[in-house]
Symmetry: C2
Subunit: 241 residues, 2 copies
């Protein structure tokens, strides 16, 4: 396994950080890595808001459902789908298509993954904060996002003060298909995976939650999934048509 | 610059390949790297269809707008948003929310970026094929995708038989904001970037298209952007509510 793949495969979400700052040079290097990702039709339909203001950070903790690391991480970046720039450049731009939502979400996610890997290669750790989508309108107001800009997720970064174990992923046979989709779930393989996931949770400090993957899926998908998101995105000019 | 960041920053789309195959071991390593990405609520809402059947490849060339590398690349992967697995496991799953579209698109894109970087670290090259969204219904039929599975993009992989130069990205100052979004486009900075982009195109073999970034944005966004995508996604169970 080469160094890059080793780096990629050693990813864990880091929620606790030392007080050491991320340097300006590191941040620039992380953003440059982000920008090196592929971009659909060369649109580069993403922006990043770095939040350093302590009051705004406190507010983001609330808006993301009370995640303390959003306030405490040395760096917090908000990743946004962005067609404002394009609109400014070309006021007649035909926006609002669902396809442009996809393009900007994919562009932004590719960039963010590059950024996280670059940060990890510098000895930093971090995690994605999807919880920003709990109150996306509050986030948009707080960061003064114009029309055609929508916050997608946050990212905490800092020097790790914890060393968690890796969370197991689905067996390759359940996610990789050849030539056509295999619709039949291999329940035996899944049962083995559920056991592996339970073992993972049992081994965590505190072992506060010991469940398989299947139980977590049921728990998550028995709830409504942020039912405000469609209206929110449409109010920002995304996914209207 | 460390090895990982160097790898990330040296990305270019590769469209021409030698006849050397991607080995089974390399493919497994690439998929394992993909799966190491963060996943929202641990849902792992993605699947990958590896297309090896030459007839299906030929059809995918047509469906993606006649891109020959889709047929010729040693490997072609179709990356899909996927809640079929979850639905099989838990028939009462509350699906159809726009939020779940976002989750699955972000999950899939993070995985795909890891995969491409892992491939590049192994000496391979590749590119994303957003053109699959020209005829997503045709792709879904061809690959027998069930309800709750939607193809997002393809990925060609193989040993590079070309060595293109890097395509310049927007200046950091235009995409990175601090504490609030700066809505005023710096036209001077943009003019310098447009000049850099023209210089890039002039330096390419053939120099068939010499335009700035601004002109390309205008050209792209003066057209309708795949206006079928909203209906397509809804027909697959995504973004209904």
């Amino acid at each position: 396994m080469n160094e890059v793949i080793q780096q990629i495969r050693s990813h864990r979400s880091i929620r606790r950080y030392t007080d050491d700052p991320v340097t300006r040079e590191q941040l620039e290097s992380i953003i440059a890595a982000a920008q090196a990702a592929s971009t659909s039709s060369y649109l580069q339909a993403a922006s990043i808001i770095r939040v350093t203001d302590p009051e705004k950070r406190s507010r983001l903790v609330e808006l993301s459902g009370g995640q303390p690391w959003v306030g405490k991480a040395p760096e917090f970046l908000v990743w946004c789908a962005d067609f404002h720039r394009h609109r400014q450049l070309f006021p007649e731009a035909r926006l609002g298509y669902t396809e442009l939502l996809l393009i900007s979400v994919i562009d932004t996610a590719l960039m963010a993954q590059n950024a996280l890997l670059a940060a990890e290669s510098l000895g930093l750790g971090g995690l994605f904060i999807g919880g920003l989508r709990n109150h996306p309108d509050g986030v948009a107001d707080l960061l003064e996002l114009p029309l055609h800009v929508a916050p997608l997720f946050g990212m905490c970064l800092g020097h790790p003060a914890e060393d968690p174990i890796l969370r197991p992923r689905l067996p390759q046979a359940l996610i990789l298909h050849e030539n056509c989709y295999n619709p039949d779930l291999d329940h035996e393989l899944l049962a083995g995976y559920d056991e592996e996931v339970r073992h993972y949770y049992a081994g965590r400090p505190g072992a506060d939650r010991v469940t398989g993957w299947s139980e977590q899926v049921q728990e998550t998908l028995s709830r409504e999934a942020r039912p405000h998101m469609r209206d929110f995105l449409q109010s920002r000019g995304f996914g209207l048509k």
